[in-house]
Point group: none
C-alpha cells in the first residue's frame, strides 16, 4: 500500500503509540528443549499482553527473504523495503552514526591488497584489525579534492566509509570493486552524464589513496562500492501524523530512525536507561521507537541461555512502559536470529499488539508457536503494523463513505 | 489481482451463487460476556454452514483501514477499493437512489448559514430538519442553467445532492466548501481547461441559490463538494460472467450494486421480504447479492441485545436460502461495527463460504474467534471472495496448461 493512502486518512488524536523492537527476537526450537528462546524465557508481562492483545508473526521483506537491520526496521516503520531501498554507502554511514546530509555521496569501502601489477590479491587485506584501519583512514584524510569536503571513516576491520560533500554531486557511479580476485580495481564509471564530475573526483580520490598506501602491507589499496545519497522519502512524522522519538543504543538503528525523520532521543545505552529515556520524554511525542539490541547479539553468538536471559531482561522492564499508559503497545522483533543459525534468518517474527480496541484472539503466551494462531496471522507483512497501530490509536479516518 | 485475470478464466455453468451480506457483522467482545454479538447470538443455521464450509475473516481495504459502506461492498464484489474509487457526489447520488447517468456531474451539498459579509457561520445551518431541506430543495429547483438539466435532491437534514446533466460536463471542479467557519464559500475552480464550462455553470448555480435563499434562517447558502461523474468500470456481469441481481432495502447498497452493473430487484424492505425476493427471482439470475442492514444500525446505536437479535433474525431465514439449493453460499459482513465503538471499524469481518466443493476446516461455529482458525485465514483480502465463489461454483477454467 502506498504511504499516501494512509497519510490521506490520518487524523489527529492525543493517543500514544510505543513500538518496542527486540532485535533478533525470533528463533528456532532447540533440539532438546523443543522451545525457542522466547518460549523458554519466563515472560509473565509479555504473556499477559499477548493474552489481552492480538498476536501474529510478521515478514519484513517477503517470504523467505532474510532482512538486514535497515530494511527490517524500515518495514516496521511502514516503509516497504523493496520500494524504499537504501544504498550501501548510506547504510554504512548510518551504521557508524555518521551525520549524512542531504546531497552527500557515501560509498562503502574495503582496504585491499593488490600485487605489483595492480591486480587484487586479497579483497579484504587479510582482515586487518580495526586499529590499523583507523591509522590508514588517518592517512587518507590528507587527500584533497577540488571544491568538496572528503570524509574517510573507519567502520570495522577492513571496512571504511567514504563521504564526499559539496555541490552537484551524484550517487550514480559504478563500483570500483570488481568483487573478483585477480582483477584490477575498476574505473568509477558514471551512470549518467550528470555523474561525470563526481566520477572524476572519485577517480582522483582512488589515485591519491593508491599513492598514499603504496608499499604498505597488506593494505595497499581501496575498493569502493554502493555510491549513494541520502534518499528523499516521505517523512514518518508527516505520513503518520506522529511526533516520533527514537531510542536506540546502536548507531545503525538511530540512523534508520533519523533517515525517516524521527527525532533521536539522547539516552544511556543500557536497556534500563533506554526505558528511562522514554519516560523522561513521555510528554513530548506521540510515537516511541524503543530498540533493545541484545537478543540479536546472543543469537549471533549461538548462546541460548544468554538470549533467554536478554528476553527476560526486557520482559522485566515492560511494566515501566505500561505505567506510562500508552494507548497502543507493539512488541516485536526486526527479524529472527535463531541461536542454532547464529545469523539473521527469514523466519517470521513474533508480534503482539495491545490496545483497548484490540479484538482479542485466543493466544495466551508470547511465543513463536502460540503466535501462529493469532489474529494478525502467521505471516503478515511487517508494513501492516503502522496502519494497525494508528487504527487502534484512533488516528485513522474512515475510507470512503 | 486485476479483474481481467479472472475474466479471462471465466467459463459458463448453470450454478448459482448467493452472497448474503450482514451489514456491520463483526464486533468486539463485550467486557462482561467476553463474546461478540455474533458469538452471543444463537445461530444454529450459520453454525452448521460454518461447520460444513470454510471460514475466515476478511479486510475490505487494507490492514487497519476502516471502510465506508461503498468501498466495503465494492471489495466484496471483487473490485479493489483503492483502485476503484468513487467521488463523494456519486456516493451521495447512490445513497438516495438517484438514477445517475453516464456523463452526469454530481456534487454533495450542505445548506449552511453565512453572515452579512458572506462568511460561513455554520457549515450545517443548525442541522435543519429534513422537512425544511425538502422545502428548500423545492425552491432551488427554480434555478435554470443554459443547456443543462439541474437536479436538486434532499439527502437528509442539511445535506443535499446537486446533479447537472448535459453534454461535455466535467467533474474536475474544486469544492466550494472551505470546510472552515469564518471563511467565505470558495469559487468553484476548474482543475482542467476542459472543466471551465462546468465551473461556470456551478458558479451561476451558487449565485442563484444565494439569491433564492437570501434572508432565510438559518439556511441561507449552499456549499458544494466532491464533484464527480459516474465511473466507467468493468461491469460485474461481464467480468464474472454472472447475471447478477441485487436485493437491498437501503438505496446506498442498491446504488453500489447498480454502479457495477447488477440488476436491482424490486423488493419490500423487511428482511423476510428480501429473502422472498430472491426466491421469486431464483430462475432469472446466477448471482444474488442480498443485503441485511440492521446489525449495523444496532452496532451504531451501541445496542448489544438488538445486534444479537438482528443476527438471530437473519439466521432464522437462512433455511429459506438453502431450500433454493444454491451451489455456493457466502455469508459475511461488509465491515465490523462493534457495539462499544458505535461506528464502523477496521476489524476483520467473519466470513463463511459453503459449497459442495469446500475443503472443510475445523471451524464449527460462526464467530470472530472461531473464524481465526478457518481455512480462509484470519485477515484475507475481501476481493478474494469473488474468485473463490466462482471457483466453488465451477465457473473458472484452469490457468495455463
Amino acid at each position: 500500500m502506498d504511504l499516501d493512502v494512509i497519510e490521506a486518512l490520518v487524523e489527529p488524536a492525543d493517543t500514544k503509540i510505543v513500538l518496542l523492537v527486540m532485535d533478533g527476537l525470533g528463533g528456532l526450537a532447540g533440539a532438546e528443549s523443543g522451545k525457542t528462546a522466547l518460549e523458554a524465557a519466563r515472560t509473565p508481562h509479555l504473556d499477559k499482553l499477548a493474552a489481552q492483545g492480538i498476536c501474529g508473526l510478521h515478514e519484513s521483506v517477503r517470504a523467505g527473504i532474510t532482512p538486514g537491520s535497515g530494511p527490517a526496521h524500515l518495514a516496521l516503520f511502514g516503509y516497504d523495503p523493496l520500494r524504499y531501498q537504501v544504498g550501501r554507502g548510506v547504510l554504512a554511514a548510518l551504521g557508524i552514526g555518521f551525520d549524512l546530509q542531504q546531497g552527500d555521496v557515501a560509498a562503502r569501502g574495503n582496504f585491499c591488497t593488490v600485487d605489483e601489477e595492480g591486480r587484487i590479491a586479497d579483497r579484504r587485506a587479510g582482515r586487518i584489525p580495526t586499529s590499523e584501519n583507523e591509522e590508514l583512514c588517518g592517512l587518507l584524510r590528507q587527500i584533497e579534492l577540488p571544491d568538496v569536503e572528503v570524509f574517510v571513516e573507519t567502520v570495522k576491520e577492513y571496512r571504511l566509509l567514504l563521504v564526499l560533500r559539496g555541490e552537484g554531486l551524484s550517487g550514480a557511479i559504478e563500483d570500483t570493486d570488481p568483487q573478483e580476485v585477480g582483477e584490477k580495481p575498476l574505473d568509477p564509471e558514471p551512470r549518467t552524464t550528470e555523474a561525470q564530475h563526481t566520477a572524476d573526483l572519485v577517480r582522483e580520490f582512488v589515485r591519491q589513496a593508491g599513492e598514499i598506501l603504496s608499499g604498505r602491507e597488506p593494505a595497499n589499496m581501496v575498493l569502493l562500492r554502493g555510491f549513494s545519497k541520502r534518499p528523499s522519502w516521505p517523512r514518518f512524522p508527516d505520513v503518520f501524523g506522529l511526533r516520533a522519538g527514537a531510542v536506540a543504543a546502536y548507531p545503525m538503528y538511530r540512523g534508520v530512525a533519523k533517515l525517516v525523520g524521527m527525532d533521536v532521543l539522547e539516552s544511556g545505552s543500557e536497556l534500563e536507561e533506554e526505558f528511562a529515556t522514554v519516560e523522561r520524554h513521555w510528554e513530548g511525542y506521540d510515537f516511541y521507537f524503543l530498540h533493545a539490541k541484545h537478543m540479536d547479539s546472543a543469537g549471533e553468538d549461538g548462546n541460548m541461555d544468554e538470549k533467554v536471559a536478554r528476553i527476560e531482561e526486557v520482559d522485566a522492564l515492560v511494566p515501566r512502559l505500561l505505567d506510562l499508559e500508552p494507548d497502543v503497545l507493539v512488541v516485536t522483533g526486526d527479524h529472527s536470529t535463531p541461536v542454532r543459525m547464529r545469523y539473521h534468518s527469514w523466519h517470521p517474527v513474533p508480534t503482539l499488539l495491545w490496545s483497548e480496541y484490540c479484538r482479542r484472539d485466543d493466544v495466551s503466551t508470547f511465543g513463536e508457536t502460540a503466535c501462529l494462531h493469532g489474529g494478525l496471522g502467521p505471516r503478515f507483512p511487517a508494513t501492516d503494523l503502522m496502519p494497525l497501530a494508528l487504527a487502534h490509536a484512533r488516528r485513522l479516518r474512515k475510507f470512503g463513505a
